[in-house]
């Protein structure tokens, strides 16, 4: 997707935390600045993790990032039902709990290492 196309569509990104975000355990390659970058691009964003909902909220609050949703691993279908978007993308580090759940819920999927280099996470010129 080109940058112009990116600006004209609604993109929703669901982030796994552990093994995906830098604040995860283990830490993942996606930095919180990268999350802020897509937030500033008006993407719909949130987290989808086995961490408790309250601890997910606490992570986002600690980093002063406003998110649109926090859900458990099994709740990607609910996210899709709640938000209208042109692109639904989940980023995570587990084959079973991220990739398979994402594809089953009709989301596109990226591994964290792939996501780092994806145009979504590049600054606009």
């Amino acid at each position: 997707m080109s940058e112009n196309q990116e600006q004209s569509v609604t993109i929703l990104i669901s982030f796994d935390i552990d093994g995906t975000l830098e604040v995860g355990d283990p830490p993942g390659p996606l930095t919180m600045d990268m999350v802020r970058l897509v937030r500033d691009k008006d993407f719909l964003i949130g987290s989808c993790s086995d961490r408790t909902l309250s601890s997910q909220r606490a992570i986002w609050a600690d980093h002063d990032i406003e998110v649109d949703f926090v859900v458990g691993k099994h709740m990607l279908p609910d996210v899709k039902a709640r938000f209208e978007a042109d692109v639904y993308l989940h980023i995570g580090d587990r084959e079973d709990l991220d990739r398979q759940y994402a594809l089953k819920a009709g989301f596109d999927f990226l591994w964290p290492d792939e996501a780092v280099d994806h145009p979504h996470f590049q600054p606009e010129p």
Binding site: D50, R51, T52, L53, S54, S55, G72, H74
Partner: protein, 440 residues
């Protein structure tokens, strides 16, 4: 010296044995815990052998005993239930060579022998009794208490440690293959998740008594609350997160009706205690906590998964054995620290004990009352594995610390801590200890 596994004769498996012959004559004094972590980071100083040495040295120091006074060591040799060194994975030679070795290169990394520990703790110059208590600290405590009582050792360390490697728990080792011999082929290779059996029993429990999984929420919240007051535990050290009902009930199923938080989180940990005779314990640094009894269940279920009827019959039998050997009744318990990993079987233990007079089918209603450490009916003041991560050790540490009056922010205040009970793991198949602030 080759270390034997404890013989059956050391356990009190049967009803009708009467008062334990060493009641009040054996005491726990020192407690030692190593720092926890989620997984091994590959460094020598954090391998399971290293953290075990750390915990043992802390227990020795806590008891105020000179290392050369220690003549016994009881070890749980297995340090995982589901994190195995992958076949063909290169051995971490830098770690292996950082320690004195046995003939098993993974000793101290993926398992523990008494020989490895003694080879790496040169200060233990007079240990002439070693024994393995298989499986859990609960088992090893029974062995240690009996050994001290029988005079096989007078000042004895007992230790249980856990390692955790990267990767999914229960997915490696023999479980990664295509074939397993015997029952594990059905229960592990082709069966459900580890909590499957407990989930089935709990589902039948809810059907039989008209209860729901939602009724577990107060117990889970209370356990994590207590765990966050356990500075030795994983959640307190690394992720001080409460487990409120919304969080618990929103979690995904692992084996419905067992959800993610009904399954304990695997961690690296080590916990050790110093036991001695009641007489010697008088001169040590901490107040002795006397052992009134130990009891075991070695009941075999009729099939792969014990039925609820079998569970209830055996927990009741265990309760009777616990009280008989200790010479007490349920009314004498100040608190209980029965096992909780999986959380959905804690109520089976509780009902078997008849804790605070509850009967079968009443525990979930009991959970809706005040079960906090401040109340008159503290349930799992340790917080157990729910509160501090997978160890099967916290319940014992808490009993000792509660009765010594040094449980800190976790100290029970709604009752006077005089007698406690701990043990597990499973409702069928477990080992239990009755602890007391007084030998009488």
């Amino acid at each position: 010296m080759t270390t034997p596994t404890a013989p059956d004769a050391m356990y009190r498996n049967d009803e009708g044995l009467g008062i334990w012959e060493h009641r009040g004559k054996v005491a726990a004094v020192g407690v030692g815990h190593a720092p926890t972590s989620r997984r091994w980071d590959g460094r020598p100083e954090t391998c399971v052998g290293a953290i075990t040495i750390d915990a043992l040295r802390k227990a020795i120091d806590d008891a105020g005993v000179a290392p050369d006074q220690i003549d016994g060591l009881v070890v749980v040799p297995v340090t995982t239930t589901g994190a195995f060194w992958e076949q063909g994975k290169p051995l971490p030679m830098d770690v292996i060579q950082s320690f004195n070795q046995t003939d098993d290169p993974l000793d101290g990394i993926a398992k523990l022998s008494a020989e490895w520990l003694l080879a790496n703790m040169p200060e233990l110059t007079n240990v002439n009794f070693t024994m393995y208590g298989p499986g859990c600290m609960s088992n090893a405590l029974n062995v240690t208490a009996q050994a001290v009582g029988d005079g096989l050792t007078h000042t004895c360390l007992v230790v249980k440690s856990w390692h955790n490697f990267e990767g999914r728990y229960y997915q490696g080792g023999a479980n990664a293959g295509n074939a397993l011999p015997g029952t594990p082929a059905v229960t592990q290779l082709w069966g459900g998740p580890a909590s499957y059996s407990t989930a089935l029993q709990f589902a039948e429990y809810c059907r039989k008594y008209g209860k729901t999984h939602e009724m577990m929420a107060p117990f889970m919240e209370n356990s994590r609350r207590n765990g966050l007051r356990f500075p030795e535990g994983y959640w307190a050290q690394h992720r001080p997160e409460e487990l409120i009902p919304e969080d618990y009930l929103a979690s995904r199923w692992i084996a419905k009706p067992a959800n993610l938080f009904d399954n304990d989180i695997p961690i690296m940990m080590s916990g050790a205690y110093l036991f001695s005779t009641a007489e010697r314990a008088q001169d040590m640094k901490q107040n002795p906590v006397y052992i009134l009894n130990h009891a075991s269940s070695n009941t075999r279920p009729r099939s792969l998964v014990p039925t609820l009827d079998e569970v209830e019959a055996d927990t009741a039998r265990t309760g009777r054995k616990i009280y008989e050997g200790a010479g007490i009744t349920a009314d004498d318990l100040s608190f209980e620290n029965m096992y909780d990993g999986f959380s959905l079987f804690h109520q089976f233990h509780l009902e078997g004990l008849g804790y605070r007079g509850i009967k079968f089918g009443e525990a979930l209603d009991f959970y809706q009352t005040d079960i906090s450490i401040e109340g008159p009916n503290p349930v799992s003041p340790s917080g157990g594995n729910v509160g501090s991560g997978r160890s099967r050790v916290w319940m014992h540490t808490d009993c000792i610390q509660q009765l010594q009056g040094r449980a800190g922010a976790r100290q029970v205040t709604g009752v006077k801590p005089e007698v406690g009970v701990s043990g597990g793991p499973m409702p069928l198949g477990g080992n239990y200890t009755v602890w007391s602030a007084s030998p009488d």
